[in-house]
């Protein structure tokens, strides 16, 4: 089974967050960072779904952290971006930067 390495805008946001947040990233912190940076607050459900997709694509890896009392004795699932994830995020960023550069010209044409 060939898994597409293409990513969408929301997956890009998660990957970009993981690039800047190595080591301690999990569902809630990822959501908070996205909120800080972009101003919109994605639902945690969206983040879990996207993280699962990114993991299946091999762009991120995850492992279990320690059990903590504040989580009701449950473990955190921590996420780390892989080299392939960084590459996918940079490609996505570059593609949209190119669009951004041509936007004023497009505006003039319209």
């Amino acid at each position: 089974l060939v898994v597409a390495r293409e990513i969408g805008p929301f997956e890009f946001e998660i990957l970009a967050t993981l690039i800047n947040q190595p080591g301690d990233a999990y569902g809630l912190t990822i959501r908070d960072r996205i909120k800080e940076r972009s101003g919109h607050e994605p639902s945690v459900g969206m983040i879990y779904t996207a993280l699962g997709r990114l993991e299946r694509k091999g762009l991120v890896t995850s492992w279990w952290g320690e059990k903590t009392e504040e989580r009701g004795g449950r473990r955190k699932r921590l996420y780390k971006i892989e080299a392939s994830g960084e590459l996918a995020a940079r490609r996505f960023g570059a593609r949209f930067a190119a669009f951004g550069a041509s936007a004023p010209a497009m505006g003039q044409v319209i």
């Binding site: 945690v44 459900g45 969206m46 879990y48 779904t49 989580r71 009701g72």
Partner: protein, 160 residues
Amino acid sequence: MNEAPKVRSLAAIRLELEELSREVEEFARDLIDSGHANAPTYAAASATIRAATTIQAHVRVGAHIRAEAHVIQAEPEQSSLPSVPPSWSSFVLACVASKGRAEELLGDAHAEYRQMIETLGAERARWWYRVYATKLVARVLPGAIMRVLLLHKVIGMLGF
């Protein structure tokens, strides 16, 4: 219901407001007394003194009703409810989440619930948790249905 925190917070606000207005008033009076204030500065200092004295009078005569209402809203409710989230919501969430995700989902939800208790109070936090869990269930339910359908298909293929 324990009333003490509300009274303390309100008293603290009143005191702070009064002190602040006195400081501002003193500063403005010093400015006028120094004799160096030009016309606009003098006018501004006079207006500041009037505003400061008005604030002090309002604080004294009890025009603090708005501040009090604000404090009552902002104060977390004191409640004897446990710091464990509603069990039914957790149960439903655990049922629909995939095996590998349940611990993560419930752990994050629990951690956030604990934070909500501090900001909203226990009773509101419980309602917040119910809504939160419902939204999560709506998100993960399609995946759960797909898993069940897949299982049925596999069982059918095996001829059971």
